[in-house]
Amino acid sequence: MASTLFRTIQIHPFFLYPTALFSRRNGVLYCTMKSSQTQTATQEKQQPPKVKVPQHALKKTVDKITRDYEAIIGIETHVQLSTLTKAFCSCPYNYGSQPNTNICPICMGLPGALPVLNSKVIEFAVKLGLALNCKLSLNSKFDRKQYFYPDLPKGYQISQFDIPIATGGYVDLDLPLEFGGGHRKFGITRVHMEEDAGKLLHSGNGDYSQVDLNRAGVPLLEIVSEPDMRTGIEAAEYAAELQRVVRYLGISNGNMQEGSLRCDVNVSIRPVGQSEFGTKVEIKNLNSFSSINRAIDFEISRQALLHSQGQSDQIVQETRLWEEGAQKTVTMRKKEGLSDYRYFPEPNLPEVILTQEYVDSISNSLPELPEAKRRRYEKMGLSMQDVLFLANDMNVAEYFDETLSSGADIKLAANWIMGDIAAYMKNKKLSINDIKLTPQELAELIASIKSGTISGKIGKEVMFYFYYRVKQFKHFRVQQLFYLQILYDF
């Protein structure tokens, strides 16, 4: 639910931490082997000047500076698909299993093993492509993306390079009201299928690392957005919308904490009015929508400040990590130009050919997507706040729709769900699927209140009995509330 989600965001003023950037020798999780792929924050060359400025004045300065620049933000999202088995073999995937228990010769890359495509991956990819309003490539193929790393068993990743399964789409969303609201439309460059790599578990002291291949071979969909976002909140809402879409489609549980939804953000800024893009910086290690928001805002400020101080050449194309604790980005590794992945078509897999009938049948089976729901609720006369609350959580929307289909009044249903029921859920830390009041019963309750059979106050009390399903009220019928009202009045 959008409103509760963003309640926890606090905007941190940007302090200059001249020494803090250097105080950690080994501040990043990934740097345990002395390989050229990871470098620590100690390799930052420049020391920003020490300035002592009062906080409020500092924030004003920062805001003023950032106003002169336009931020260009693009997001690469990886969605882990919830297919029963992996992309190219029949191993199951269960998050949190003991290491190396869901593997086989194929996902381990043993000699002689060959990949065979799991057809559900295509189905899910087509669903997502259609949901994101993309153009589907009826003839696409798989390619090998080659590089060496211990979590990549075959030494290459089976992905799609030049002919992704879906291109040129867009996503519609509404920004949360506490951040100004407003409708936005962000472009989607491409969606393609690929397989996930395994996981590396690093020892505490950095002496060794262990490879867990449970995750190797799990199907992913990579969604690359157009660089249309301009602020942290836009980016965070884009990511939240993607999460909603994949959950609505049932193709992924979209959990950032579990790693089934991963976002890498690319941020650059340019002076307002300039048409040329600035240097792009990639940010990784974003584990929640709020950290997306904060990381981007921090990065924009960092770059703006460097620009304003005439040190824009200090902004290099690199990958930075977002440190949740310190609430800042730090250098992870500098990108020396583009890596050469030596792409070529995967010879072990045939071309992916989609017929129009197949695409149409999937198109016809798509559920109502968040955007459509929002527009429908809007048309019903609900306020934007109500719309966002009700439509953005799939389960809440379903509950609401069912209540309505049982004949309840729209406004009242909305109020009940957003008010008492939401409060109850928050109190008991339950989700709407857990509460024991069925939509039909809610509809009945609302009907009685509306018709005056019982008062709102009685209604609220009665709710509790529904919640707890006390035995005496097991077969409680709303008509009997009438008697309760009378009793109460006495």
């Binding site: 002689g112 060496f148 211990p150 070529f344």
Partner: protein, 527 residues
């Protein structure tokens, strides 16, 4: 009929220096000492074995003993095997077959047949090294599909044969472990990369064997060792369990002492496999039902069969001895009723460079998994890149390294279009020209190699010369077509002459077209 030398043949024609093996070898109770260059089709060893076992003329244990003895005697001289199965286990399997037969239970069509498997095909109960140090001691946790099918039909795997490392080479000299000798002349190569498999059938250490063919690795050794080698259509046999060299070119092939045996073996391993997305769903015809015995044929049995001799393969660069053997075979075919004509495939010479670019590129990618991290020989190091570098530098031989370098280069940014993409386009041209030629002709014929077996060490320092020897065979892999090599004559060399094979190329999935079977059967009989 043939203008080449036809030395007298004995059953045990293995020319050991100073020791002629004159005793008859009782492999087949129904066999007579063969006095021709090769066995006749109607003397299919597999069928004879089955006949003998089921009629209780011979027991599987006796049969196995005789082969194992032969293996033990010959192995120190020819070095075919990287790993020989434990004799006790093998004999136990044979005993089980005998027991089943005694109890009148069904035994598979390959019961009692001893098979050797090339070491780049995974076998669960035996090491599979691919001929490389990097997989020294590696034991796969699964059987290749082809091996599994053989075992299910009752075959006994007698061991893993020597090969050029990961299938890259034409002599077995690129094996990390040993060099196999040609049974016809121990100072010469058996061919490659399936040299061990070809030599072991040639020396009769086993009945049949499996090899792999990416650019001629079954056909060229078949020609050098005087046995029948079959390369099926790409997709006919599952590649699951075959250590990948070039994924779009690799196939598993069969060696046998007769066409019938290779046919039976092919039938046993063919068919769609859900573990190989490139394996064909086409039904596998029963090849064996298409064989006819020589005795039942009329005088011109191949009447009307259109045979095309590929002109570019008998041009300059081919040994005169080989040329005359092929021309003799062609003349013989005409006598049998074929309509022979010369066919020109102008794109023929483009095949070799295209092949080497595609094969090197794909192999550079397929060999990336050998990094010492999860299996195989690992060089110890504190640093990741050093671990990769050392494990691979020490584990791979120079031929493999060379191809990985070439392939990585060809795929790198800026070169992909000029090399890989271009080579794929050439491949399409070659495929089309073969299809056109096979529309006009039923089969195409050519030599399998420009010469007979050369001396060990002769081509070692001249890789390009060695690559040039693949000219006859690579185009068939590029086009994905089936081809059969059968011995058709001899050239001078060695103690008794060196065998030369005739390559017969057919249309896709047409491994044993009716006419071809007649051709093969009859042809063999009359050589």
């Amino acid at each position: 009929m043939l203008s080449t030398i036809q030395p007298p043949r004995y059953l045990s024609r293995f020319p050991l220096r100073g020791r002629t093996k004159s005793r008859s070898f009782h492999i087949l109770s129904s066999a007579q000492p063969v006095t021709k260059t090769c066995f006749a089709a109607d003397k299919s060893q597999i069928l004879s074995i089955r006949d003998s076992l089921l009629n209780r003329h011979l027991s599987a244990v006796e049969l196995t003993h005789s082969y194992l003895d032969r293996l033990k005697q010959t192995e120190p001289h020819i070095n075919c095997f990287l790993h020989v199965s434990d004799p006790d286990k093998v004999l136990k399997q044979a005993q089980d077959i005998d027991d089943k037969i005694k109890r009148n239970e069904e035994v598979g069509p390959l019961a009692g047949v001893l098979v050797a498997i090339k070491d780049n095909i995974c076998t669960a109960d035996m090491p599979s090294t691919g001929g490389s140090y990097i997989l020294e001691g590696y034991r796969p946790p699964f059987d290749a599909t082809a091996v599994k099918r053989l075992k299910d039909l009752g075959a006994i795997v007698v061991g893993k044969t020597n090969l050029d490392e990961f299938g890259m080479g034409s002599t077995t000299e690129a094996s990390a472990f040993k060099v196999t000798a040609n049974p016809w002349d121990l100072s010469r190569v058996p061919g490659g990369s399936s040299g061990g498999s070809a030599a072991s059938v040639s020396a009769r250490q086993c009945v049949v064997s499996l090899g792999s063919d990416t650019g001629g690795s079954v056909r060229q050794p078949a020609s050098f060792c005087g046995v029948v080698g079959l390369k099926p259509t790409y997709g006919r046999v599952s590649r699951f369990g075959l250590m990948a060299y070039a994924s779009s070119l690799d196939v598993i092939g069969c060696f046998g002492s007769s066409v019938a045996d290779t046919g039976i073996l092919l039938h046993a391993i063919s068919g769609h496999d859900s573990l190989d997305a490139t394996s064909s769903k086409r039904e596998v015809p029963d090849f064996t039902s298409q064989f006819t015995y020589a005795s039942s044929l009329k005088s011109r049995p191949l009447e009307g069969l259109r045979v095309g001799l590929i002109r570019e393969t008998v041009d300059a660069g081919v040994d005169s001895g080989v040329k005359s053997a092929i021309e003799g075979a062609a003349a013989h075919l005409e006598q049998l009723g074929c309509v022979l004509k010369e066919v020109s495939l102008p794109s023929f010479s483009l095949g070799l460079p295209a092949y080497y670019i595609l094969a090197s590129s794909e192999s550079s990618s397929n060999l990336s998994r050998y990094d010492g991290v999860r299996y195989g020989n690992q060089a110890s190091s504190d640093e990741l890149n050093v671990l990769y570098e050392e494990s691979r530098a020490k584990g791979f031989g120079s031929e493999v390294k060379m191809r990985i370098l070439m392939g990585t280069y060809a795929l790198s940014a800026g070169y992909y279009d000029a090399y890989y993409k271009r080579a794929q386009q050439v491949r399409t041209i070659i495929r089309k020209s073969f299809k056109a030629a096979l529309d006009e002709n039923d089969i195409l014929i050519s030599p399998a190699a420009p010469s007979a077996a050369y001396k060990i060490g002769e081509k070692k320092n001249d890789p390009l010369a060695m690559y040039a020897g693949d000219i006859m065979t690579v185009n068939v892999n590029l086009a994905g077509l089936p081809a059969l090599v059968l011995p058709c004559g001899f050239v001078e060399g060695g103690a008794v002459g060196l065998p030369v094979g005739l390559q017969i190329i057919g249309a896709a999935f047409d491994e044993f077209a009716k006419h071809k079977c007649l051709l093969n059967g009859f042809f063999e009989r009359n050589l």
